[in-house]
Amino acid sequence: MKRLMMIVALVLFNLPVLAAPEIGQPAPDFTIKDIDGKEFNLADHKGKVIVLEWTNHECPFVRKHYESGNMQKTQQAARDQGVEWVSIVSSAPGRQGHVGADEARKIAQENKAVITTKLLDESGEIGKAYAAQTTPHMFVINKDGVLAYMGAIDDQPSPRAETVEGAQNYVLAALADLSAGKPVTTAQTQPYGCAVKYGE
């Protein structure tokens, strides 16, 4: 009975629903099989700058960035600087944007995405560790595995393709600061887009 009361007491405490990671702190580690069946362990990639991109190919905001070529341009610029790019799908089975490995690969090929790999986070575990809210939601991790940027891809929270032109790309700005050895000027912005379709 005492044990039960303890559990009841524990139930009464409220935990934040999504605990966001902190800028300047180590990025939450994770290991998962990628769409090619290879193990992806974040800690193994220390020494390289990494961009995490939350995506959902059916979301109008994601489509704005892929159909306008803006996402691919950003990815290419990152690759040119030796940055690794990881796309993550946290849609739960049966929800919008959920794909199997074959379809995920096909989508990346059709979009001509310039990515290192793509991860299918069906359980939403990685998404919740990063408090990923939207698609797109971008995270930049520096060479020491420390979170350097999180938030929107740019300053135009609109699904309209015209807004890509002249937008300030926060990810590219963060990468530029990192390669210049400076602290990231704009380390946090409000992400925008569709909600990540976590399982209930």
């Binding site: 059916e58 109008p60 609109s158 925008y192 209930e200």
Partner: protein, 733 residues
């Protein structure tokens, strides 16, 4: 969900177990279960809100999108004078279940954007946003609007106003979301000083203006305290908002707070304080912030006050907040799934001993006694079928619970007993089983295969439906161990809920499963003989007693007319059975009519309307406002959550609360005693229960006296579900 319940039953119906001739009784029984589940599923207008499958955006035609979000431009007046300012409204008519976004959309989405093409010299001000709703989405929370909203912008004409009609064009980009998001782009024109009547939509816009937050000049400060974001409001704010409920902070700036996390709102010596886990943003980079203090006012209308707050770096860190008033209970219980399953199993075991279940299960024991002497394999088979009956019913309840919750209904354990028609049908079932046990009728004689095979008999179908019945009648008794597990289940994803219910079912079935499987246990059962018939007849009386109790519950739910209707229904059913005993064709026809009449009368209780909760025998009736008010006093507060159909609640009340010593103690300690009655569905009580991780009654909470030095109360204490006068006295002292 609403389709699968009857379908499942139909499947069983087709199964070999029931492959015998259809009889009138069977139809009647079938319609009982069907009706019970249909009532469970169609009430609360759940149908319209169930989740739809994901549809790719391409499938939405322009016409579909116009149905999801219809935008209109409205003018306060359609004529404008030189140098005049009038309100322009941008109305969103939003399809049910969909929403558009506020200035700060919250965790996802994007705010509506409007750009204007105006005639020369005209100026248009920023958007005035009505107070938004909180829209939870999985672990995220958005701020936005559902159904209808009018955004407002002030339009000012130049002194040199040209003659003739003026055309204004608004380019509107809105995002309308439910499970998926659809961007909507519209260009709409508005003509002023044209040849229309010029009256405009003043009335609609006045209503919209009333939904805008009130502007304040409050001196509000904010600071960070460990993991929390803290806002301090001055005494002036407390005075201005007056009596209000569900007070919360809605930030216009992003990243200040974890939007979906629970906030603690408390009155302090200097005013009001709100603490909420902080958001992802580094507060060192944030200066003056803007936000709304949102609440339901005394009339229950959503209102808000807009304020600006400045950082207060000198503020001392706040220690553990004394009084937790969760404005939005979103507890993530720390009970692990395996532990919850274990407690559910124990809870299920305890259900066997509940006074309302025991008589039904005695019937089962009786049939096991008969079977045990045939052969072991048949006994095992019966045990498994009984377990299946229990599990299937628990899964149906879990399914209904999940479906209702995903539709946003405020429900909890025992919710199926909050519907008068379910109570009436259950009373009828108990009554008929009682009649059968007492020997008023023998179904086997009358119809070959009938009700007896279902419940009181010894076929496999009987085993299955004894399991179903055990679950139905077990629900009034939330055994102590079940509360934590169920509270946990209600906050969990569907697979976890299902596991909890599976645990409960296995626990309930376990003793009989054991008797069926272990021959040694069977040997301990008494030998069959004439005593069985006497025992069977004796069992009729607990069934009648149970029916009487259900009718008493019905009296509280539907009033005296519901009782009359239910009792006449019982008489009609009895008449139907009596008529069936006569073999004349006309008797059969008449009995069919009597059954139809009986079920109609029983179902009619569902439309008798809920009666108001009775005045508690002492103490005050619970409401969030009364609780809030009581917590402001210097006295201890005792909250009791109860329901007429909850036997544990009634037992506790009679033995530990409504007794001389406790009454005297309450009077001596000036205890504020509040009683919440959950006999009928009450969202405020459901919300309160959820705040404590619970999903059923009873629940007893004691708020200790505030510390005279700081004026703050200690953490509220949750009392066990079985009370003794000693437990109550200890908690109060």
């Amino acid at each position: 969900m609403k389709h699968t319940l009857p379908t499942l039953l139909l499947k069983h119906h087709k199964h070999a177990i029931f492959a015998s001739m259809m009889t009138i009784i069977r139809r009647a029984c079938f319609s009982f279960f069907l009706a019970a589940f249909v009532i469970l599923t169609i009430d609360e207008s759940v149908c319209a809100q169930t989740q739809e499958p994901v549809i790719p955006v391409e499938r939405f035609s322009a016409e579909d999108i116009a149905k999801l979000l219809h935008i209109r431009l409205l003018a306060q007046r359609e004529t404008i004078q030189p140098g005049e300012t009038i309100w322009i409204g941008i109305e969103h008519a939003i399809a049910p279940g969909w929403h558009t976004y506020w200035l700060n959309p919250g965790d996802s989405g994007s705010a509506t954007r409007i750009s204007w093409q105006l005639p020369e010299g005209f100026q248009i001000g920023a958007i005035n946003w009505p107070v938004p709703q909180k829209i939870p989405y999985g672990p995220l929370l958005n701020y936005g609007y559902s159904e209808q909203v009018i955004l407002l912008q002030p339009l000012t004409s130049p002194e040199a106003l040209p003659e003739g009609p003026l055309s204004l064009r608004a380019n509107i980009d809105a995002l309308v979301c439910k499970d998926e998001c659809i961007p909507v782009s519209h260009s709409l024109d508005l003509v002023l000083n044209g040849d229309n009547d010029g009256l405009g939509n003043n009335e609609l816009l006045q209503k919209a203006l009333a939904r805008l937050p009130l502007q304040t000049a409050w001196d509000v400060s904010y600071f960070q305290s460990g993991p929390d974001f803290v806002l301090n409001f001055p005494a002036q704010a407390v005075q201005e908002i007056g009596a209000a409920q569900d007070i919360s902070f809605i930030p216009a700036d992003w990243g200040l707070i974890s939007n979906p996390a629970a906030a603690k709102v408390e009155k302090t010596e200097t005013g009001l304080r709100i603490m909420q886990p902080r958001g992802e943003r580094d507060l060192a980079e944030v200066k003056t912030i803007t936000g709304l203090l949102a609440m339901k006012n005394a009339r229950g209308v959503l209102t808000g006050y807009e304020f600006q707050a400045n950082p207060d770096p000198s503020a001392p860190p706040v220690t553990m907040p004394p009084l937790a008033q969760d404005t939005q209970p979103k507890a993530q219980p720390l009970l692990s799934l395996s532990m919850a399953f274990f407690y559910a199993l124990i809870g299920g075991l305890i259900l066997n001993l509940m006074p309302c279940v025991f008589p039904v299960l005695s019937l089962k024991a009786l049939s096991i006694v008969k079977n045990a002497h045939h052969n072991a394999a048949t006994a095992r088979y019966h045990g498994m079928v009984y377990t299946a009956g229990v599990l299937v019913s628990f899964w149906l309840i879990a399914g209904a619970l999940i479906a209702l919750q995903s539709a946003g209904a405020q429900i909890g354990w025992g919710f199926q007993l909050q519907h008068p028609a379910v109570i009436a049908l259950l009373a009828a079932l108990m009554f008929l089983v009682g009649l059968n046990l007492a020997g008023f009728f023998e179904l086997t004689v009358m119809a070959g295969h009938g009700l007896s095979r279902w419940i009181a008999g010894h076929g496999l179908g009987a085993s299955f439906f004894t399991g179903v019945l055990a679950v139905l009648v077990a629900t009034p008794c939330t055994a102590p161990f079940m509360a934590a597990a169920l509270g946990y289940a209600a906050l969990q994803p569907p697979h976890a809920s299902l596991m909890i219910f599976t645990g409960l079912g296995l626990g309930l079935a376990l003793p009989y499963l054991a008797i069926c499987f272990i021959p040694a246990l069977q040997k301990t059962l008494p030998k069959p003989g004439p005593w069985m018939e006497i025992f069977r007849q004796a069992l009729a009386f607990p069934m009648f007693g149970f029916a009487a109790w259900l009718v008493w519950v019905l009296a509280q739910q539907g009033g005296s007319f519901a009782v009359l209707s239910a009792l006449l229904g019982l008489i009609a059913l009895t008449l139907g059975i009596w008529l069936l005993k006569h073999h004349a064709r006309v008797a059969k026809l008449l009995s069919l009519m009597a059954f139809a009449l009986g079920f109609c009368l029983l179902l009619a209780t569902g439309w008798m309307g809920a009666t108001a909760a009775p005045q508690p025998d002492f103490g005050q009736r619970f409401s969030p406002a009364v609780l809030e008010e009581a917590l402001q006093s210097p006295d201890p507060v005792f909250v009791e959550m109860t329901a007429a159909w909850c036997i544990t609640c009634k037992f506790n009340h009679a033995t530990s609360i409504n007794i001389e010593s406790t009454r005297a103690l309450f009077a001596e300690k000036k205890v504020r005693y509040l009683v919440g009655d959950w006999t009928n569905a009450d969202p405020q009580i459901t919300e309160f229960l959820r705040g404590y991780g619970r999903n059923g009654v009873p629940l007893y909470i004691v708020y200790g006296q505030p510390d005279p030095a700081t004026g703050t109360r200690p953490e509220p204490v949750v009392l066990p579900q079985i009370l003794t006068p000693g437990i109550v006295a200890n908690a109060v002292e």
